[in-house]
């Protein structure tokens, strides 16, 4: 299942709509990195509201996405981690430490805008 990526100004928004296979996650990683380059985006939001399980592979792939995008000079925000998922992630030992997270899409956009303002 492919993840749609929307372009909103300088920000790319990837909304995960269902449980993803490992291959889907890797495909998302490739697509996001390519599009950040193509559109010269300054920020990426990955919306994981619809994910009801976040295992170690999904976490690692999100971390990789964020690091690759940072090397490109853009910021990544993960939004919409469900409370149950957050609970399970912490128990499992996953923290996504390096990646900023936000409550929802709106907060994620606000975070990126604030970050862009502080640079200018």
């Amino acid at each position: 299942m492919q993840v749609p990526i929307l372009k909103q100004g300088g920000v790319l928004i990837a909304t995960i709509q269902a449980a993803l296979s490992d291959a889907d996650l890797l495909e998302l990683r490739t697509a996001l990195v390519q599009q950040v380059v193509r559109y010269r985006s300054s920020g990426v939001i990955v919306d994981v509201t619809a994910m009801d399980v976040m295992d170690s592979f999904a976490s690692r792939t999100l971390l990789e996405i964020s690091r690759m995008i940072r090397l490109r000079g853009a910021a990544t925000v993960i939004v919409g981690i469900q409370p149950e998922v957050a609970f399970a992630m912490v128990q499992l030992g996953l923290t996504l430490e390096d990646i900023p997270t936000a409550l929802d899409l709106e907060e994620g956009l606000a975070y990126l805008q604030q970050k862009a303002r502080s640079i200018n």
Binding site: D52, V53, S56, P83, E84, A88, Q91, L92
Partner: protein
């Protein structure tokens, strides 16, 4: 199934995450195996859910090392087995080099 057994959404997510990790271990180390779920009844009237993840892969040579946080022989995060142990109430692993691995975990209803 966890929800039907009476677990809360939060506990069901813990169980689903544990199953995902166990299944991932089978796929990445042994290629094939099985994951079985079954309801269990404890001696003191408690009920719960037991998951048995079994494979006939290469087995684990050093269990202590495999259960240590951050250790991985496959380039992963190394959180699989120690993480699953934290997610569940009971954790048992039987493995020997060459004869596969069986992980049995149980979550009890509070």
């Amino acid at each position: 199934m966890a929800l039907r057994a009476g677990f809360s959404m939060s506990e069901a997510t813990l169980i689903a995450t544990a199953i995902s990790e166990l299944a991932r271990n089978i796929v990445s180390y042994a290629n094939q195996g099985s994951v079985t779920l079954r309801p269990v009844h404890g001696s003191n009237g408690t009920t719960g859910l037991t998951i048995v993840a079994s494979d006939s892969g290469p087995g684990i040579t050093d269990l202590t090392l495999a259960l240590r946080d951050g250790y991985s022989s496959s380039g992963g995060l190394g959180l699989g087995l120690p993480g699953v142990r934290r997610l569940m109430d009971e954790f048992d692993i039987v493995s020997s080099s060459g004869s596969g691995t069986t992980v049995t975990v149980t979550k009890w209803l509070p």
